[in-house]
């Protein structure tokens, strides 16, 4: 709905005020501890915007944070959160999401936790299509431990602990995820609030595992790819002629380039893929929908009789 001078704008303004109030409700009293210019602020705010637009409130959300700079946001947003262990948050989030599919469970982790420490969890979360929105903060280094190289640090750059320069080629997280037959892979940029918000909203509406890579600036430790470097290379899929986000091969091809042209947007989406819960035969035709509401005595006498 838009405000047209010919119509009464009251409804529109009311809706806007509600969204603004909802956005503000995610604030809390904690002080932000990220560096000035850190991409995390933008990501957090874009998440709040997406939640507000989608009408998601405190009772609808569980934010699960990994360890790293991103994790220092775990007590900065006014909603339920879990601040877990390094590299493991995808699995904890998956457990929570499976237990309560009424919650929107968001897992948030950096490139260190995701592409090194816990890469196995990422692999199998994609394969299982757990109902989780996963936000990868890819700032290409270990910020919280003061700037060591990560699996996505560009080759040749000197980092804390790698004074002679990183000797390995960087991993490409989105391309990696696309290699796992995913149901949703998107890429966005921490400097582009509007685009992030749009991508998060789309991801929130995906029923399975939504992998969102946020290419993120780290003004303190990542001198290789500052904000301008990204802006010069962003290539939105909407601007790629004939781009079809239902075409996995096309997505893989688009995601490949990390030097000259960074494909941004919903790289791939398959809304028809049955999600984790839909694949479970044991859950077919059950009256209740969430495990959280099902904890009660179950009669096992039938099973016991079989053992007589």
């Amino acid at each position: 709905m838009t405000c047209d001078p010919k119509n009464n704008c009251t409804e529109y303004l009311k809706g806007l005020a509600e969204k603004r109030a909802q956005y503000a409700s995610f604030d809390n009293e904690e002080k932000i501890t990220w560096c000035s210019g850190c991409g995390n602020m933008g990501i957090q705010n874009a998440l709040k915007r997406a939640f507000s637009f989608e009408g998601l409130g405190v009772k609808d959300l569980l934010l699960c944070y990994d360890i790293g700079c991103n994790g220092n946001g775990s007590d900065k947003m006014g909603t339920y959160s879990l601040h877990g262990l390094h590299g493991r948050i995808i699995s904890a989030a998956a457990g929570a999401a499976v237990a309560n599919t009424n919650l929107k469970v968001i897992a948030i982790a950096g490139d260190g936790g995701t592409m090194s420490e816990g890469i196995n969890h990422l692999v199998h979360a994609v394969r299982n299509d757990y109902p989780v929105l996963f936000v990868l903060h890819n700032n290409q280094n270990y910020g919280l431990t003061t700037g060591q190289a990560s699996a996505t640090t560009r080759k040749g750059y000197a980092m804390n602990g790698s004074p002679d320069g990183v000797t390995t080629e960087p991993m490409n997280p989105s391309e990696f995820a696309l290699g796992l037959e995913p149901s949703f892979v998107a890429r966005t940029f921490s400097g582009d609030m509007k685009h992030m918000t749009k991508i998060f909203r789309e991801a929130l509406n995906h029923k399975g595992f939504a992998f969102v890579e946020v290419m993120q600036v780290c003004p303190t430790y990542n001198k290789a790819t500052p904000s301008k470097w990204f802006w010069d290379r962003l290539k939105f899929v909407e601007d790629i002629e004939g781009y079809n986000s239902a075409d996995l091969e096309m997505a893989r091809e688009a995601a490949h380039d990390m030097n000259d042209s960074l494909a941004m947007g919903i790289l791939y989406r398959d809304p028809t893929m049955p999600s984790f819960m839909e694949r479970l035969k044991s859950r077919e035709g059950l009256e209740t929908s969430i495990l959280v509401d099902e904890v009660k005595h179950y009669d096992v006498s039938g099973f016991l009789e079989e053992l007589q």
Partner: protein, 593 residues
Amino acid sequence: MSRTTIKIAGESGMGLVSVGTILSKALKRLGFYINLDREYPSLIKGGHSNVQIDFSKEPLHCLSQEVDVVMALDRVGLDEYVDTIREGGILVHGYEKRERLKDLEERAATRDVKLVYLPGRQVAFFHGGNELMVNMVLLGMMWKVLGFDLKVLEDQVSEQFASKPDLLKIDLEILRTGYAGEFACEGSDVEKVEFPEMEIEVPEEVPETILLDGNHAIALGAVQCGVRGYFVYPMSPASSILTHLALMAEKTGMVVKQAEDEITAAQMAFGAMFAGTRAFTGTSGGGYDLMTETITLAGMTETPLVTVVAQRPGPATGLPTWTGQGDLNLAIHAGHGEYPKIVVAASDQNSCFELIQHSFNLAEMFQVPVIFLTEKVVAETKSTVPTFATGDIEIHRGLVMDEEELQNLERTDRFKITESGVSKRWAPGSSETYYFGNGDEHLEDGRLTEEADTSRAMYAKRMKKMDAIFNCLPEPEVYGVNEKAEISFIGWGSTKNAMKDVIKECAADDIKVNYLHFEYVYPLKVDMLKKFIARNKNVCLIEGNYTGQFGDLIKLKLQDEGVLFKFKKRFLKYNGRPFFLEETMQFIIENKL
């Protein structure tokens, strides 16, 4: 107590398990109590293994070392087991190259062990069967030796192979030939078997029992107390919990998920518990090593979490398919930092069924991790036990669920410093009042803090839950005479089963024995313990590891209480085998007052 022990020995894949299943069910139909244990190497096919069944007219709990009848399915089975047969016992076999068995026959003869033989393969082939059906020849012979009614066995064979009617017909013919002990066909080197007669009294009544192992009982207990998720990575001897829960899932609706590794399994169970349902995981020592970081997260975020640790001996891979009690210290001490926890140890089927339910209650009431120990001999030994009492263990969620209360929560209620250390817990999404489950040190609402006084207060808040837990746990139980025993034991886990049988045997011989059994091993209750050591003068430790981990725990605890105590003897075993009846009796005879 008179018991009979039989053993089926052969290579894995020769049909030992199906013979074991048939025999156990047939014995159960006759009214016997049984204990069935499988000794096997960590291989799927090949490698030597055996199934042992102890049976008796009266309930029995442990296994015996000496065997009355061995059924050897192959040459290795003959060689390996002939010397384990009790003097005057019987060896049933079908090994046709008997000229090669001269030495074995002599060894058997010196101990009056009788060999019972039919040419196994010839009989099987004669009836149109195959090599695998040799087990039916021997099964028939063994049943005859035991002196039981063929019909009971035929029924079980028919049930076992009902899905293959053509083969079943042949199986039954072979079985009957074995039972009759007559095979007068061309080329046969024996026409009629002279069966030695065992005089085993068949029970007059068939008691109402169920036949299952500990893992199955854990699965049933979990279903009963409302567990809705099982997240696991396979590891012996915990693996069959997965099997059972997965087979039941279509009826229970439980989410049973084999994850990519133990860390994931623990994290998913943790995440599901954090979200407010009941879920758990299971593994053995090595897998638990991988899980411990997650256990500390449960401790720090005050999230209930139940983990089954089915013990097997040794560090690294150790003896993957054998039994032991070496992971008590692991369960009590693993994980960095300090956090409150509860360690329980199941001892038998009923204990598995009930203790898993209590574990969930304790975990949720105190918002702590519970480590649930079993051992291979508890997890995988099948026994006939009285059927379980269903529905009499109440579910305690320790979770705010009342709508009005949910509306009136403060954010700081979640980790509020209280007298007991236990604060209110509510499921994410159930109230407009949110909180942060923070693995970092945090304030009462979960916001991060590094401030000294607050950190100290929150640390202490969590740790003092141990006092509340200690006060709530039940005291250990005494088996046998109440006081002035000639010999006493203290133990946990499967040793209860050996002690129960031994106490009965000793009572018949007028030897006064008693045993103090702990199901709740940490925190350790002390009142009954103090009474027990005061009332008995010759108190020994019985434990399945090298160092006597539980013995040390007891000593330290008593020392804290100002009681200087030393076990008179430490009866320790760490060769992968459970405590057997005979060796425990021997220990008593040698060490009683």
